[in-house]
Symmetry: C2
Subunit: 158 residues, 2 copies
């Protein structure tokens, strides 16, 4: 990619994300035990994320993924789905994050994002704020992560 | 560590986390550009996390850390501080997450956690739920991440 010939923008501008629209992403590849342990060692070294023996006496009875790991997988799946694409200018905030069920080795995650609101940004009139409800489930359709998200997107033509 | 001689528990039980208590963690080492890009490539491949050239035309004017990266650094600093330690049984949820200011290469982050509430768990009477307000600032005391957290901790003697 050279400065002379920028690639065309991918994804959708703010105006596309009208309340009620639903997007799906995933499923992920099965999450490997090694991947869970590596993430835990890097960022969240609780025994039930990094130590298969130590995890047995936790309330989970075995290794589970860090909640941060689950959130990262969710973000990655949504970005790979590409709905926001190059129009995305960043997350403003997230609310009501819950991890109602553990993520265990071998799980495959899928994500559903429903637009719940949209408004032009007051501080950045070239952008809009998209509100959404994001639900992540495992291969058995059990919900493992829910959150509400507020994201900044470029407007059409900007 | 053998099954015959488990190491003693570190950290503090639920009863220690009374409302009003304040804990501090950090500062982190300076966050390297390479580290920001590596995290972005793995989990949040927006141009303003992974591409120094592409980041220039974003609203940030340059590379910034993924909000997930900032959250991970916050969790790691808190875990290294060790207040919860082995009594920690997992995060239940998080609320009101805001990233009011970008994290840029070279920033050093520090965390303050204030206990705002505590109650015995209804579903797990051997545990308690600790509510807290967590604030992460950079080296200039500018707030880069705020959240409210609900965490499950073992009770004394359990």
């Amino acid at each position: 990619m050279s400065a002379d010939s920028p690639r065309p923008r991918v994804g959708h501008p703010f105006e596309y994300f009208t309340p009620g629209r639903v997007f799906r992403a995933g499923p992920s590849a099965p999450i490997a035990l090694d991947e869970i342990v590596a993430f835990g060692r890097a960022w969240d070294p609780q025994r039930f994320h990094v130590d298969p023996e130590g995890a047995k006496d936790s309330i989970y009875g075995g290794i589970i993924a860090s909640g941060m790991h689950t959130m990262c997988i969710m973000f990655k799946l949504l970005e790979l789905a590409g709905e926001f694409g190059d129009y995305f200018e960043g997350g403003l905030g997230a609310d009501k994050i819950k991890w109602p069920h553990p993520v265990r080795p071998g799980d495959r995650l899928s994500v559903t994002m429903e637009v719940t609101g949209a408004r032009v940004s007051r501080s950045r009139p070239d952008c809009g704020v998209v509100l959404s409800r994001v639900t992540t489930v495992n291969q058995d359709s059990v919900t493992v992560l829910t959150m509400e998200s507020a994201d900044l997107l470029r407007r059409k033509g900007d």
